[in-house]
């Protein structure tokens, strides 16, 4: 198993996380994914990469530097994204029960390992 796959498995193992993936940031394409159940991985990859790109510009414009963690809370769950270098994005989708603190830690850890 590659380092990326191992890292994605660790994220998916966090309580409430429905799946995790590594996304090519400029293309919005899935590079690797882990147990994305009932989730359209292709759509998440494209939209999360697009969102991250826009937020990066917004953060830059606001003088915040580059985003380090993106957390999007919806009515039924949360999307987390952490940039891994210039080209990649680690993304996780979880339900309302997700242990968000642990999930963030695992995403940051994964991004450090991959970048």
């Amino acid at each position: 198993m590659s380092g990326a796959e191992h890292a994605l498995r660790r994220i998916s193992a966090v309580r409430g996380v429905r799946g995790a993936m590594l996304v090519s940031a400029p293309d919005g394409l899935v590079v690797s994914e882990s147990s994305m159940e009932d989730v359209d991985g292709r759509a998440i990859a494209a939209l999360a990469a697009s969102l991250a790109g826009r937020l990066r510009r917004a953060a830059g414009g606001a003088g915040l530097g580059r985003p380090t963690v993106i957390q999007l809370r919806g009515e039924t769950g949360t999307l987390l994204a952490v940039p891994a270098g210039e080209e990649l994005l680690v993304v996780a989708v979880g339900d309302r029960e997700t242990n968000l603190g642990l999930a963030r830690l695992e995403l940051l850890e994964a991004a450090r390992g991959i970048a």
């Binding site: 400029p26 494209a46 939209l47 697009s50």
Partner: protein, 153 residues
Amino acid sequence: MRVLEGWVSGPLSRFLDESAARLVLLMTSSGQVVAQHGFTRSVDVMSAAALGAGIMASTGELAHLMGSPRFGALVHQGTEQGLLLSGFDTPRGRWIGLVAFGPESSVGIVQLFFQQFTDEIAAATPPEEQRGPVLAENFEHELNASLRALFGR
């Protein structure tokens, strides 16, 4: 945006809004233009359609020769912009979409919304209307005058 038939406008507008594509060209598999957005010269549109249909036809043949199903889509990622060329079935036969996009979009976004667009098109395609003659019976004199003017005669 220019469309051959009005019902294409809705799905195409939504696709343009969502994908942030720069150019879109929708054509039949023989290279006839069905709709376009972003081109300025009609003759350039026709050239792009001829080339796009040619590429799809030749890669289809290539897949056939290699004993594989035809390719769903071709993507070319350039430094300034990318191109997506993708065929899809409609009740009017197989159509082809050519989409050019810049860094404000991505191949993932374009592919995602293109899929939605083609689903909408396939669902919305009305039966082809039988139309009567469009040219006057004695159209030849107008045709000849046009051709003579074109050739400087």
